[in-house]
Amino acid sequence: MFVSKNRGVITILGFITIFTIFICATAYSESGAFKGSIYNPGKLKPIDSSLKVKIGDKAPGFTLPAIDGKNISLNQFRGKKNVVLSFVPAAWTPICSDQWPGYNIAKEIFDEYDAVLLGITTDNIPTLFAWTNAMGGVWFPVLSDFWPHGEVADSYGVLRSDGISDRAIFIIDKNGIISFIDVNDINVRPRLEVIVDELKKLKD
């Protein structure tokens, strides 16, 4: 009798969980370009990491492989370019697939403010290659922080407990100093003007 009751309760709890996942899985819009290929993780804890750097700090250096087979180091831009780091959680997920394609048509904004954009996830190279190809290719370097897993994300303090990164933007000036940090709710795409406004300040 007790066993059967407990089992029933567990089953009901299970169903309630599924039910909750169903109604929470609502991104407002999604590009039709990826329809059928996007894995929906449902609504996630907005931020699941804690920053290890702050504005005014020297940005932690790194060298990561890009999808074109080259390695990119942060220090190669020192004295030459402002750097915008865009960490996104994972390839083939709802909001991320609707974030970089926007930056992809905004190259002139980055050029205007003498900035480079580096896209980073903790996915491996083949996954990032296939995903960005589905976007039609992107002009900016896409870097894989897969191995040692999430090391760069962790050095900035944006690595989540499940191994993906938070949705974060870091802007680093030509002297290698962090001038802007935005760790966004993982379920929400940051506005383009957030980056533009900050780049404007660096120019002034």
């Binding site: 169903f15 819009s29 370009a33 926007g102």
Partner: protein, 191 residues
């Protein structure tokens, strides 16, 4: 007793399943429906207001647009297909403006789903979009229509005292602007 409990559990489970399916379903606008009575922010540019035939204080609704047929493009600056087909939407506008039987009667408006004013404006400048684009930053469209896959085209015709009745609503790309317009024109003439 145990059996009774089991049955009631099963009934409860079935109920939970069915509600979750209903709530999880994507509600989209159907042909024949009246377009939701949503208020949008008034466009900032005077030529946009002039084109749409709207004015005054506050916002505007699709029903306020001075037209027999309104083609609504739901897009996003972040959507690759919307970017690729921006030139086709320009073409669509051009064909309408050159066609004596459509000009003034058919209007186009683009709504940037979950886009900010800045993002919509960036898209407009980048692709030199000649018709009004407005932002739906508060996601009012998705709240009344369900999740939107962009691009999505809706056409409404004004019936019974300016009610916008949906005559077309489909997700997907605009492949041939001329063929698309012919289709919308035919649908708008149907009794």
């Amino acid at each position: 007793m145990i059996r009774l409990r089991r049955i009631s559990f099963i009934v409860l489970l079935l109920f939970l399943c069915s509600t979750s399916l209903l709530l999880g379903a994507e509600e989209t606008l159907k042909v024949g429906d009246i377009f939701p009575d949503i208020e949008f922010k008034m466009p900032g540019k005077s030529e946009d207001k002039q084109y749409l035939g709207i004015g005054g204080w506050g916002g505007f609704k699709i029903a306020d647009i001075k037209a027999d047929v309104v083609i609504i493009e739901l897009f996003s600056m972040y959507c690759p297909h919307c970017q690729t087909e921006a030139p086709l939407t320009r073409e669509l506008y051009k064909i309408i403006e050159k066609d004596k039987k459509l000009e003034g009667r058919f209007k186009i408006i683009g709504i940037g789903i979950n886009n900010s004013d800045y993002e919509v404006d960036f898209f407009r400048k980048k692709y030199e979009i000649p018709f009004p684009l407005i932002s739906d930053q508060e996601n009012v469209i998705s709240e009344s229509m369900g999740k939107v896959f962009t691009p999505h085209y809706i056409a409404v015709r004004m019936v019974d005292n300016k009610k916008p009745q949906v005559i077309f609503s489909e997700m997907g790309r605009l492949e041939d602007p001329k063929a698309f317009l012919d289709k919308i024109f035919k649908l708008s003439e149907e009794k």
